[in-house]
Structures are given as structure tokens and as C-alpha cells.
Amino acid sequence: MKFSVTKKQGLWWVISGTAMVASIATMIFSWTSLNAPIRPGLDFVGGTRIQIARDCSVAGNCDQPIDPAEVREVLEAQGLGSGTIQLLGDDQQILSVRTENLNGDRRSELLSSISEVIGTFDRQTAQIDSVGPTIGEELFVSGILALLVAFFGIIVYLSIRFQFDYALFAIAALFHDVLVTAGVFSLLGLTIGVEADSLFLVALLTIVGFSVNDTVVIYDRIRENLAANPEKSINEVVDSAVNQTLGRSINTTLTTLLPLLGIFFFGGQTLKFFALALIVGFTLGAYSSIFVASTLLAWWRNRTGRKSIISDLPASE
């Protein structure tokens, strides 16, 4: 069983190109409606989020679901009308309120008024995140900077270990993975309101570190095969390298996705979308390494004639 990636290289490029264009389009649309390419979370724009759960050990406290209209009235009475209210949990006993950035005194005030309306809640299960606007900006800038530094470091390392064109196409594949993952989250932000927090930036960086592995393993094999069979065409070499590493690519991606799927389905709320970002990114990483990075390298070497012998015959076996 052997298949040729280079034969249908046009198809792979069209698929990836379409995904990238769609991602950019989604982010532009998101920019016009949300003022950001991806719906930004608290970490980046600042604000206060309070999540509290009713204390169900108090008799009669949890008989009814929390009424969001009552909570809305409290918010409006305190001049926080622009805040958002969300109910969580299976029987709607957890309340999540997001407002502008509040200091300790205003939070206490808000919490006690909410408690008057919805009943007592358990401070031991509460979560408060309050982020000033300047902190959010610093987080964002440092995250983007880290991404660029990582890109640069990888280019330098691969240029030394391989050659500059390998490094360039590996980065092109990486850029594709990060861009399309961002596009998917942009879409999720527009449709179901998923927000990008600082964990999302971490996820993008992890995708960079992890997806480049797939590309490196295939390039490593191409390099080895080129040295062993200098008489073969680059297309042939690339095809056999992809086939030889296919089992590994599939198995590794699968074994990495297993714990991530575990976190996505069973893990805590905090890590759910972090896991999803990684799942999307790693799957894209495996795809781009096998189908895009390899064929781009073959195309480039054919074009520049860096291979001494170019066979016109299609790879056959």
C-alpha cells in the first residue's frame, strides 16, 4: 500500500489555501463586529468575572433555577447594565456575571445584593477574576512576542540542522496551522461566544512546538533518503519518505489526542477550550506536515533544479 502525495499536490494546496482564506475572512468579519479577530476574553480586555454557586446544603435554596432577570435588575441598579449574565451547571445553580473592572468594595456590594436575590452561596466554590485593562494589553503583547521569538528560533535551528528552504517551508506549514486554528476559534467566537484567553495563546505556542515535530520527522526522512538514493527524483524521495513515516505520524497524533480528548470531554471547565484548540491545531499539524510541507519542498526543489537528476516519469511502484 503506497500512495503518492506529490501526484495530487494541487488538491492539498487548494484545501489548505481555502482554509486559510476562510480563516482570514472570518477574522476580518469578526474584526468588524467585535473589534478583534477573535472574541477577546477577560484576560485581554480587562473586566471582572464572578462565578458563584448556590449553597445547596441550605434547605430550599436550590429548589428553583436561578432567575437571570432578577440578577439583571441587580446589575442595572448598580449601574452595571452592560454586564453579561450566564447560568451554568446541570440544574442552573451556578451564576457567572461579567462586568467592567470592579474594585474590592464594589464587588462586595454586588455580591451581597446578588445574594439577597438568589439566596446564599458558598464562598468556597466561588471564583473571581478581576483584570485591569493595562494587564490585558501586556499579556497580549508578551504572548505575540513569544510566538514570533519561537518562530524565529525554530527557523534558525532548522536552517542549521537542515537547510534554509526546509526551515522556510516548515514555518509556512506552522503558520498555516496557527492561522487556521485561530480561524476556527474566530468562528466559534462569532457563533457560540467562545473567548480567547491567555490559555489560548499558550495553546497556539504549543501547536507551534508540537506540529513542527511532524514536519521535522518527515524532513529528516527526506534528507536521509536523498543521501541514500541520489539518483531518484525528488518526488519519489518525498513520496517514499511520507509513506515510511505515515504510521508514526498517525500513531503519534492519535496518542497525543487521546489525553486531550479526555480533558475536552471530562476535564474541568477551565481547560475545555484549551484542549479543543490543541486538538484542532495538532490535527492540522499532522495534515500540513504530510500533505503540504512535503509537497512544497518537492515543488521548490523541482523548480530550482537543486536536484541534479529530475525524472519526468511519475513515481511508480
Binding site: 468594595d105 494587564i135 491567555s198 489525553p259 486531550l260 477551565t270
Partner: protein, 470 residues
């Protein structure tokens, strides 16, 4: 064979050491996992001089004041540290209602010069000894290695220390002289040149009140009480020669048994007492204790389920080598956790994610090796040679892929914020350990099984199903 034996002994020794470390050093859990409040405080320029940024010394002065206030909360294992140029990070484990803490932290420190009440000399001496004793006890407790076991004791010691501090405060009465009357405080060598003292300057009103205060106390043996946030930090005595006019001119020195560091500390505390820079809480992350435990439990369950599936998959797909890889993965897990404990990594939720991901990297190294071994077997090599060249040939792939991941981790460590750093450090350590276990552990176990067991050598299908040897 000799070499393999040596490796096995090394691995067993490391595993034993890892278990010993894990049982003696409990894992440090971040506030997001065990519950607590984390506040980031920014030191802002003053209103009078909005363009003058606080210097490092200014931030340190503010940090000392905040440390003193934090200690009054009676929360154990608090940390106060400066981050960046103008921010201070405060962690309050177990605190689920940070509003009060925020209010008290933001209020300006209260520096006050008080007058010792009449007839309290004996009481003051006795109570000061009690306080010293309790401070010493607390310092010893805080140095103990197993902090968590001592928590109750520490809390009790802190409570009794607070009682003593309160008792001392009751021996003094107000003299109407506070930090707002202070213009400067700095360390300087004393007359003998061996010791240090703190020179203080008052403004006009302060100078007059200070003269009156010292006149009242001169030669009586009673002390001036210098209080920072209602806690006595120094109690100088005024000599009888000032009984006539008091200490005039708005200058004074605080002498004591100070070295340069001690005098500097006191000067900073006094100056910080008037808190030359306003502070603002710019970030507050609070997680209730039970909520934190819930996330631990869920994430551990999720990670374990995924991990067990990976272990099963490895055996089903790779057969005997899969079993060996599973053993190597367990060794990997133990060594990595031990490294976290040794380096003092604080495990946060992203940190756990980093660990789970690093397991993926460890599996990848094994997968690369086994795929290569199978190829060599299919090419007709003997089992032993296939295993050896499988390792040899997979190595460059493993090295390159791990180094690229490490580069991304280093970028995060260098530029990332706290949460991001926690993720990067666990992944980075994981990548390092996985290189080690893949190369030593999996390889040694494989070679040992192949070499020491002739039956295995006759059954290469244990390594590769459907193998047709040409």
C-alpha cells in the same frame, strides 16, 4: 550485556530516588488548584509628579509595607514578590474573600510616633521579651521543611504573636505625630562608626510635636514608640539632657543595635510608612478552595483516562515493544514528577496540561523507534540488529523534534506571564526527561529482553505482526 546491566542499575537507582523524593517533598500546588487569592498590585507615580516613575527602591519600600500588612492577616505561606518593574504579586492561599485583603493592602501604611504611658516600664520590658520569644518560635517554625504539617502550629504562633503585639500597643498613647509629618529617613553610621542608626527629618509641625514628645519623655526611661501599622518597630529612649527643651530642629536619630542592613530596613519601613506612591490592584484571581479541588480531581481523571488508553494502544499495536514502552512511560512519569518536586515547580492547571502533553512527546519517541525497528525487520535484518539500528536511526528525528519543542518552551518561559510560565516549565522538563528515558530506558529494556531470552529472538513477530521474512 555488561553495559545493559549498568544501565538497568542506573534506572532502578533513579526510580528509587524519584520515589523517595516524591514521598518526602509534597507537590506544590498553585492557587488555582488548592484555592486562594492572587493579587497583582501596581505601584503608580504620585499625583504631584505623574511623570516620575517609581524606582526599584521605591517598589521595594512599598513591598515591605505590604509584607507587614499581609503578615497581619494570619494566612500562612503567603508570598509577596516584585514582578516586572512596578508590580508586586501577592498570594494568599486559602483566602476566598479577597475584598477585605484588597482594602487593607491599598490603604496607606500608618506610621505613628507614640508616647509610652506612665508606669508601664516593667510591663513593657516583660512583654517585649515575650514578643521576641514568639518571633523566634515563629521563625523556627517557618524554617521547618514540611511547611504543610506545621501549618496549624504556625497559625497558632502567629495568633499569639499578634496578641503580644497588641498588648505592647496598649502600653502607648498617641502623641499626634504621624508619617505625614515626616520628610526623610535614611541610614547613617553612628558616632562610634561601628554601628548604624536611622536619621529622620520632620516638617515644621512635626518638628514641634516631636520636641514636645521628647521633652515629656526625656530621662524618664519611658520610650518613644514608633509604630508601623499599629506594630511597634522601634522604641528609642530619650536621654535626660533633653529634659529642658526636647529634641528641637525637626531632626532625630533612632539608635539601636543596627547593622547597615537593619538600619536600611528600618529607614525603608519608616519612609514606606508614609507610602510615597499610590498603589492599585490591577489583577485579582480568586479560586474557592473546593472549586480548586474539583478541577484537580476532574483533570486528573481526564488525564488518567487518556493515559490508560495510550498504554493499551501501545500494547495492542506494538506488542512486546509496546509493553516495554509502557514500563518506560511509567518510569518517565515518576522521574518527571520527581524533577518537578526537586526544581520546585508549582503545579497549576496549565502545568498539568503541560505534563500530559509531555507524555505525548515521550510516547512519540518510542513510536519513532519502534516504527524504525519494524522497517529494519521487514528489510530482513535480525532482531538484535533491527533493534539497535532502529534506535540509532530514529535518534536524529527525536533530537530535532524535541529541540524545536524546547525552543517554543524557552520562548514562553522568557516572555510569558505566570500562567504561561507554569505550562512551559512542566513541558520543558518533560521534554528533557523523555529524551533520557527513550534513549536509556526503552533501549536498555529492549536489548535486555532480546539478548537474554533466546525464545524471543526466534519470534520476531512479537515485534512486528505479519512479518514475511524473505
Amino acid at each position: 550485556m555488561q553495559k545493559q546491566r549498568a544501565y538497568i542499575i542506573l534506572i532502578l537507582a533513579l526510580v528509587a530516588a524519584a520515589i523517595a523524593i516524591l514521598t518526602t517533598i509534597p507537590p506544590q500546588l498553585g492557587l488555582d488548584l488548592r484555592g486562594g487569592a492572587q493579587l497583582t498590585i501596581q505601584v503608580n507615580p504620585t499625583q504631584e509628579q505623574p511623570d516620575v516613575k517609581p524606582t526599584i527602591e521605591d517598589v521595594e519600600a512599598v513591598q515591605r509595607v505590604l509584607e507587614n500588612r499581609i503578615n497581619e492577616f494570619g494566612v500562612s505561606e503567603t508570598t509577596v514578590q516584585t514582578i516586572g518593574e512596578d508590580k508586586i504579586l501577592i498570594q494568599l492561599p486559602g483566602e476566598s474573600q479577597p475584598e477585605e485583603a484588597e482594602r487593607r493592602l491599598k490603604g496607606t501604611a500608618k506610621l505613628e510616633f507614640k508616647q509610652q504611658k506612665q508606669g508601664t516600664e516593667g510591663e513593657f520590658r516583660a512583654e517585649s521579651q515575650v514578643r521576641q520569644q514568639r518571633e523566634l518560635e515563629l521563625a523556627i517554625l517557618n524554617q521547618g521543611e514540611l511547611k504543610s504539617e506545621n501549618q496549624a502550629k504556625i497559625a497558632a504562633a502567629q495568633a499569639s504573636l499578634q496578641q503580644s503585639i497588641q498588648a505592647i500597643a496598649n502600653l502607648f498613647e498617641s502623641a499626634g505625630l504621624t508619617g505625614t509629618n515626616l520628610t526623610d529617613a535614611r541610614p547613617q553610621p553612628d558616632a562610634t562608626g561601628n554601628r548604624w542608626e536611622v536619621a529622620i527629618n520632620f516638617d515644621d509641625a512635626g518638628g514641634k510635636r516631636f520636641a514636645e514628645l521628647t521633652k515629656n519623655l526625656a530621662g524618664t526611661g519611658r520610650s518613644i514608640g514608633i509604630f508601623l501599622d499599629d506594630e511597634l518597630i522601634s522604641s528609642p529612649v530619650v536621654g535626660p539632657e533633653f529634659a529642658g527643651t526636647g529634641i528641637t530642629g525637626g531632626r532625630a536619630v533612632i539608635t539601636g543595635n543596627f547593622d547597615l542592613e537593619g538600619a536600611n530596613d528600618l529607614a525603608i519601613q519608616i519612609k514606606g510608612g508614609s507610602l510615597p506612591f499610590p498603589v492599585a490592584v490591577v489583577e485579582n484571581r480568586t479560586v474557592g478552595a473546593t472549586l480548586g479541588q474539583d478541577s484537580i480531581r476532574r483533570s486528573i481523571i481526564a488525564g488518567s483516562v487518556g493515559l490508560v488508553l495510550v498504554l493499551i494502544f501501545m500494547v495492542l499495536y506494538y506488542r512486546l515493544p509496546g509493553v516495554i514502552a509502557d514500563v518506560a512511560l511509567v518510569v518517565y512519569g515518576l522521574l518527571t514528577m520527581a524533577c518537578y518536586a526537586l526544581v520546585g515547580v508549582t503545579l497549576t492547571l496549565p502545568g498539568i496540561a503541560g505534563f500530559i502533553l509531555s507524555i505525548g512527546m515521550a510516547v512519540d519517541a518510542n513510536v519513532l523507534i519502534f516504527e524504525r525497528t519494524r522497517e529494519e525487520l521487514r528489510a530482513g535484518k535480525t532482531l538484535y540488529r533491527s533493534v539497535e539500528s532502529g534506535f540509532f536511526r530514529a535518534f536524529s528525528s527525536i533530537l530535532d523534534s524535541n529541540v524545536t519543542t524546547a525552543i517554543a518552551c524557552l520562548a514562553l518561559l522568557w516572555l510569558g506571564s505566570g500562567l504561561v510560565k507554569g505550562f512551559a516549565i512542566t513541558l520543558l522538563i518533560g521534554v528533557g526527561v523523555s529524551m533520557f528515558t527513550a534513549i536509556t530506558c526503552s533501549r536498555t529494556l529492549m536489548l535486555l529482553v532480546v539478548l537474554s531470552n533466546p525464545k524471543v529472538r526466534q519470534k520476531p513477530e512479537l515485534f512486528c505482526p505479519n512479518l514475511n521474512i524473505q
